[in-house]
C-alpha cells in the first residue's frame, strides 16, 4: 500500500475530534469511578438513554439535540442522585459494594437496554440538526461539522467541570471525598451528600454525551456496550479521576482507533481500546497522569 500523507492527516484529525467526544462520554466515569470509586458499568446505558431522550425531543418538537440535552440535564442529575441513594443504602453502607454493587449496576445496564429495545425496537435512530451534513474542507483535510460541534461543546463541558471541581466549595469537597471521608466529616460536610451530588453530576453528563452520540452516529440500544470497555480504558489510562488526563487519554485512544480503522479496516477498531485497556492494566495501572 502506498503510504498517503493525506490519509494519515485525516485519520489523526478525525481521531482528535472523536477523542474529544470520547472525553465527554468518559467524564461521567471519571467522576463516578475515578473519584468516588463507584464502578458504574451502567454509565454507557445512561448515555444511550440520553441519546433516546434527545431523539424523542428532536423528532417531536424539532429542538436542537444538544440544547434539549442541556435542558433535561437536571432530570438526569435527579436520576443519578436517586441511584446513588439506593446504592448507598443497599451496598456501600453494608460494605458489600465490591461484588453485589457491580451486579447491581450490571442489572441496571441490562434493564435499561432491554427496556429501550422493547419500546423502540432495534432500528437505528437518528436526529436532525443544521450542522449534520455540511463538511468544511481545508485543502485535503475534511472536518465534518457533525463531529466538530460535539467536539467543541464537549471540551467546554469538561472545562466547566474542571472549573467546578477546582474552584467551588462543592467541587473541592468532591475531590476531598476521594481522599479522606473522615476528614471531610470533621469539616462539617456530609460525605454522603457530596457523593450524591457528584454521582448526580456524573449521570447528568451522560445526557449531553448521549446527544453527542446520536449526532455523530445513528443509535440503537446495544451500541452502548461498545463504550463500556472504551470508557474504562480511557478513565484508567487518564489516571483515574483526572479530567485533563481523561481528555489526553481520550484523544490518544481516538487517534489510535482512527488510524487502525483507516489502515487495517473498521472491524479491528473495537479491539484497539480494549487492547489498550488490558495493556494499561497489566503494565501501568496508574495511567498516564496517575496520582
Amino acid at each position: 500500500m502506498i503510504f498517503s500523507f493525506d490519509l494519515l492527516a485525516n485519520a489523526v484529525i478525525s481521531g482528535i475530534l472523536i477523542g474529544a467526544f470520547y472525553a465527554a462520554v468518559t467524564a461521567g466515569i471519571t467522576i463516578s469511578f475515578g473519584i468516588l470509586d463507584i464502578v458504574n458499568i451502567a454509565h454507557p446505558a445512561f448515555i444511550i438513554l440520553g441519546s433516546y431522550v434527545a431523539y424523542i425531543i428532536n423528532t417531536t418538537f424539532g429542538f436542537d439535540p444538544i440544547l434539549s440535552a442541556i435542558v433535561v440535564m437536571p432530570a438526569f442529575y435527579a436520576l443519578g442522585a436517586g441511584i446513588y441513594q439506593v446504592y448507598y443504602v443497599s451496598f456501600e453502607k453494608r460494605g458489600q459494594e465490591s461484588m453485589r454493587g457491580l451486579a447491581f449496576f450490571f442489572g441496571l445496564l441490562f434493564i435499561t437496554e432491554v427496556t429501550l429495545v422493547l419500546y423502540f425496537g432495534v432500528d437505528y435512530r437518528y436526529v436532525e440538526a443544521r450542522y449534520i451534513g455540511p463538511t468544511w474542507h481545508f485543502g485535503s483535510i475534511d472536518i465534518p461539522l457533525r463531529i466538530l460541534t460535539p467536539c467543541l461543546v464537549s471540551l467546554s463541558l469538561i472545562a466547566a467541570l474542571q472549573l467546578v471541581l477546582t474552584r467551588t466549595f462543592v467541587g473541592r469537597a468532591i475531590m476531598a471525598v476521594a481522599q479522606d471521608q473522615f476528614a471531610l466529616k470533621l469539616m462539617a460536610v456530609n460525605p454522603i451528600r457530596i457523593k450524591r451530588i457528584a454521582f448526580g453530576i456524573s449521570i447528568a453528563t451522560a445526557s449531553l454525551a448521549g446527544a453527542f452520540l446520536i449526532i455523530i452516529q445513528p443509535v440503537e440500544p446495544s451500541v452502548g456496550r461498545e463504550y463500556i470497555g472504551r470508557v474504562f480504558a480511557i478513565c484508567v489510562l487518564g489516571g483515574m479521576g483526572s479530567l485533563p488526563g481523561t481528555v489526553i487519554a481520550a484523544m490518544l485512544v481516538g487517534i489510535v482507533e482512527s488510524l487502525t480503522s483507516t489502515f487495517y479496516g473498521p472491524s479491528w477498531a473495537p479491539a484497539v481500546s480494549f487492547g489498550f485497556l488490558l495493556l494499561t492494566l497489566a503494565v501501568r495501572p496508574a495511567g498516564i497522569l496517575g496520582r
Binding site: F110, P270, P285
Partner: protein, 329 residues
C-alpha cells in the same frame, strides 16, 4: 457425604431427569432442558471464581464462545465425536482462563471485572475477523437427524450436557470442601490478610480462573451442534454473561447449591417466558430479579432459607443442615 457417593447420587438424579424427559416423549423438553442444564454448568463455573474467590467475571460469554468456536474449528479441520470436542473446548478455554489470570489477577476487584469485559470484546473481534470459522457471517454445522442408541440427536446432546453438569457440580463441591476451597474463601474474605498469612493467593486465583474458564468452555463446546448456525453475536451474547452472574447471585454464592437452584429456577422461568411472552421480556425479568435480589436478599435464596431455618428454636443450622437430606444412601 464422600465425593464419590455424591457423584453417584448426582448421576442418579441426572438419569432420573433424563428418564422423565424420555417418558414425556416430546423432544421439546430436551431442547428446553438443554438450555437450563447448560446454565447449571455456566453458573456453577462462574461461582468457582465469583462466589468462592469473590472475583466478578463479566466475560463468561467469551469463554462459552471459545468452547463453541473451538468445536466449529474442529468441525472444519477434522470432525470428531462431541465428547472429544468438549475436552478440546475445555482445554482451550482453560488455557485462555489461565492467561487471563496472569494478565489481570494482580488487579483487585473492579479492575478485574472490567478487564474480563474487555477480554470478551477482544476475543469477539478476533473471531469476527477470523474467516476460517465463518467470521462475522457465522458458520453452519449440520447435525445428523438421529444417532444410534439415543434416537434423536437432541437427546444425545442433552445427555452430554447433563453429564457435564454432574461433573461441574461434583468439582465445585469437591473444591468447596478441600484446602483449595478454604484458600479461595480466605481470598474472598480478606486477600491482604490471606497473603500475609502465607496463602499463595496468586496461584490459587490462577487455579480458579483455569477451572472456571475450562468448565465454561466445555459448556459451550456442544452449542454449535445444538444451535446449528453459530454467529459471533449469538455466541458472545450478553445474556450468557448476565445469566451466569444472575443465577449464582440469586441462588446464593457460598455453596454449590446456590448456582444449581438459581440456574434451575431462572433457566426454567426464562424458557417459560420465552414461549409464553417474548424473549426480550425474559431478559428484562432476569435484570429485575438480579437487581432485586442483590438489594433485598444479598445471600440469595440459600441465604433466605438459612435465615428461615435459623429462626426455628432447635434446628441444626449451616452446613450440616444443608447436608442432612442427602445422607440417605
Amino acid at each position: 457425604m464422600r465425593t464419590d457417593v455424591f457423584f453417584v447420587v448426582c448421576l442418579v438424579v441426572g438419569a432420573a431427569v433424563y428418564g422423565t424427559a424420555v417418558a414425556l416423549g416430546n423432544d421439546y423438553y430436551f431442547f428446553a432442558g438443554y438450555v437450563v442444564v447448560q446454565y447449571v454448568v455456566l453458573s456453577t463455573a462462574w461461582n468457582i471464581l465469583g462466589g468462592y474467590c469473590g472475583y466478578v467475571n463479566f466475560g463468561s460469554a467469551a469463554f462459552f464462545a471459545l468452547g463453541a468456536y473451538s468445536t466449529v474449528a474442529m468441525h472444519r479441520l477434522y470432525p470428531v465425536l462431541i465428547p472429544l470436542d468438549v475436552v478440546i473446548g475445555g482445554v482451550v478455554s482453560g488455557i485462555v482462563g489461565l492467561g487471563m489470570g496472569y494478565l489481570t489477577l494482580r488487579l483487585r476487584g473492579a479492575f478485574f471485572a472490567i478487564a474480563t469485559l474487555a477480554l470478551a470484546v477482544v476475543l469477539q473481534t478476533l473471531v469476527v475477523n477470523w474467516d476460517y470459522v465463518g467470521g462475522s457471517r457465522g458458520a453452519y454445522i449440520l447435525r445428523p437427524e438421529s444417532i444410534p442408541l439415543f434416537g434423536s440427536y437432541i437427546r444425545y446432546l442433552f445427555l452430554i450436557m447433563m453429564l457435564l453438569a454432574v461433573g461441574a457440580i461434583t468439582v465445585a463441591r469437591l473444591i468447596e470442601r478441600s484446602r483449595l476451597g478454604y484458600g479461595f474463601a480466605t481470598i474472598r474474605d480478606d486477600e491482604l490478610a490471606a497473603e500475609a498469612s502465607g496463602v499463595p493467593t496468586l496461584r490459587l486465583k490462577l487455579i480458579a480462573t483455569t477451572i472456571s474458564g475450562a468448565l465454561m468452555g466445555m459448556a459451550g463446546a456442544p452449542f454449535p451442534y445444538y444451535i446449528g448456525f453459530l454467529q459471533p453475536s449469538s455466541a458472545f451474547g450478553l445474556d450468557y454473561a448476565v445469566n451466569s452472574i444472575a443465577m449464582p447471585l440469586i441462588g446464593g454464592t457460598t455453596s454449590w447449591v446456590g448456582p444449581l437452584v438459581g440456574a434451575i429456577l431462572l433457566g426454567s422461568l426464562q424458557q417459560i417466558a420465552t414461549v409464553t411472552i417474548s424473549s426480550a421480556v425474559n431478559l428484562l425479568i432476569v435484570g429485575f430479579l438480579l437487581v432485586g435480589f442483590v438489594i433485598v436478599a444479598p445471600n440469595g435464596i440459600i441465604g433466605l432459607v438459612h435465615k428461615y431455618v435459623q429462626q426455628k428454636p432447635a434446628g441444626p443450622v449451616g452446613r450440616a443442615d444443608a447436608d442432612a437430606p442427602e445422607t440417605a444412601p
